[in-house]
Amino acid sequence: MGLEFATGRLADAVNWARKFSLFQYPFVTACCGMEYMALWGPRYDVARFGAEFPRFSPRQADMLMVVGTVTERQGPILKRIYEQITEPKWVISFGVCASSGGFYQNYATMPGIDHVIPVDVYIPGCPPRPEAVLDALIMLQEKIQTGQGWSQRQYQVEQERKRLDRQQTRNAR
């Protein structure tokens, strides 16, 4: 009981730290980038949520913010950047174009980035108001605190699988 309590509290503490120090990788492509710039500005200050500093190297980031339309041509590049970000990582899809293709339903546009990478929070809007983005950020922070992010769950699934493996080897002996 004691160990579970301690690890439970530890996980909570770690998640608390993670959610308030998100380092974003701004994968900015199109018009949503303008609202993204406004988000950094003094009025809709995103620094108060701890998510201010963008890290322009995927290795140093933990949140991939896909801002704007992703075309089919940009797909492999997005996937590569996503793979390079170290775990645990979260993805926010900013704007309808990143969420579902927006109103560009044609040969060139990918109908949403979840065709190449898993997404944690989708923000609709063309472009979404900065308040909507801050709302999404808070939603993501709640998800992080409860360990519900895609990559966090994958990690838990991995841990569970390893635990079962260990148990099986022990039982087999």
């Binding site: 900015v28 199109a30 018009c31 500005g41 339309t69 075309t71 940009q74 044609n106 546009t109 472009p127």
Partner: protein, 397 residues
């Protein structure tokens, strides 16, 4: 094997890729640089990572449904694109819009132009390492976007202009609020000027870099601030006045050194001239309707649509079939944030275009990029790229 790869083989150069996901590439430009130490021996520019199929979408939509797509072309000054497209369709229709609508288009267009140049300043300075001007600019830009939100309903993608005029009149007190904001924006421009224009580091990084002569600029089809920085006196608002620009008193800044610094200074001065234009337009604006009275072009009023059968059918036909301009082709041009924004429209008499081509002013800037950065150092790529003011939505459409 591409030309750059052949060169690399031949001269033992290093290839560095900048982009297509790079903070200072405004999102989506891929530059392949073949380096000899820090010097760029050869460069290759790869665009198209934001090609969203504007023309194909336009061919599938009615004439009036294309406005949201035009918003997202040059997305830092969407009003100017709206105005350009509306002017093109009106030229095709042979329509003259009411004066008040023309003044409103000029006012919102110039506010968009100031917003465009402010965003340029923010990007230019931040990408060179100066973070402070970015925050001043964001403060100012949010004020301008508040004004545009008041008049159109949206902060960024307005779709305020309609074929035949503008969607609705400006709200109560808009003129006073605009005139109150302009000195505050001017204050920000003054602060930017003080911080950057005579800054030693800024000058070292911008002067005498990426020189394009007037002849080369014309051969590359350059227009707008970049062409004016190369010493050519061409601004569509003065050379071919449209809307009510012939009644406005403003100047066109022309550069002399054809380098990055001049492109920056031209835009700085253009912001001040835009503020003059807005003030004059707000003084001169006459009362009157803001939409032309033409059943075949303008949707009828809601009260009439819901109460009389003729108006309902009119509304239905306009929405489902679209406006039907006569068969023919036009090329209409206006001065957008980056230069001459042209729309080449081909109509066959139906409600959908046969062809809706956008002439993107920053496409030409990117075409000249290879020539501009060859021979300079890697660190010069960023200021040069910023002065071209490539906007992905417009360059790749």
């Amino acid at each position: 094997m591409t030309t750059i790869e052949r060169d690399v083989e031949a001269h033992d150069l290093t290839i560095v890729h900048m982009g297509p996901s790079h903070p200072a590439m405004h999102g989506t430009i891929h530059l392949k640089l073949a380096l000899e130490g820090e010097r760029i021996n050869k460069a290759e520019v790869d665009i198209g990572y934001l090609h969203r199929g504007f023309e194909k979408e336009a061919e599938a939509h009615c004439w009036q449904q294309i406005f949201p797509y035009t918003d997202r072309l040059n997305y830092v000054s969407p009003m100017l694109n709206n105005v350009g497209y509306a002017m093109a369709v009106e030229k095709l229709l042979g329509l003259t819009i009411p004066e008040r609508a023309q003044y409103l288009r000029v006012i919102v267009g110039e506010i968009a132009r100031i917003s465009d140049h402010l965003t340029y300043m923010a990007a230019q300075t931040m990408e060179m390492g100066a973070f402070t001007p970015y925050f001043y600019v964001m403060k100012g830009r949010d004020w301008l976007w508040d004004l545009l939100e008041e008049i159109s309903g949206a902060r960024l993608t307005h779709s305020y202009v309609r074929i035949g005029g503008v969607a609705w009149d400006m709200p109560e007190g808009f003129a006073e609020r605009t005139l109150a904001i302009l000195p505050k924006i001017d204050q920000i421009v003054v602060e930017l000027d003080k911080l950057m224009t005579r800054n030693r580091i800024f000058l070292d990084r911008m002067q005498h870099i990426a020189v394009i002569s007037a002849e080369d600029a014309i051969s590359y089809g350059w227009t707008g601030p970049c062409l004016r920085a190369s010493g050519v006196d061409y601004d569509v608002r003065k050379a071919h006045p449209y809307l009510v620009y012939d009644r406005m008193d403003f100047e066109i800044p022309i550069g002399t050194d054809c380098d990055n610094m001049d492109r920056y200074l031209v835009r700085m001065e253009e912001m001040r001239q835009s503020m003059r234009i807005i003030q004059q337009a707000l003084e001169q604006i006459p009362p009157g309707p803001v939409m032309v009275e033409d059943k075949l072009v303008v949707l009828p009023r809601k009260a009439a649509t819901y109460n009389t059968i003729e108006e309902m059918i009119n509304h239905f036909k306009l929405v489902i079939d679209g406006i039907r301009p006569p068969a023919g082709e036009v090329y209409s041009y206006s001065e957008a944030g980056n230069g001459e924004l042209g729309f080449y429209l081909v109509s066959d008499g139906t409600g959908r275009p046969v062809k809706c081509r956008v002439r993107p002013p920053c496409f030409m800037g990117m075409a000249a990029m290879e020539q501009m950065i060859t021979g300079h150092m890697v660190a010069d790529v960023i200021p040069t790229f910023d002065t071209v003011n490539m906007i992905g939505g417009e360059c790749d459409r």
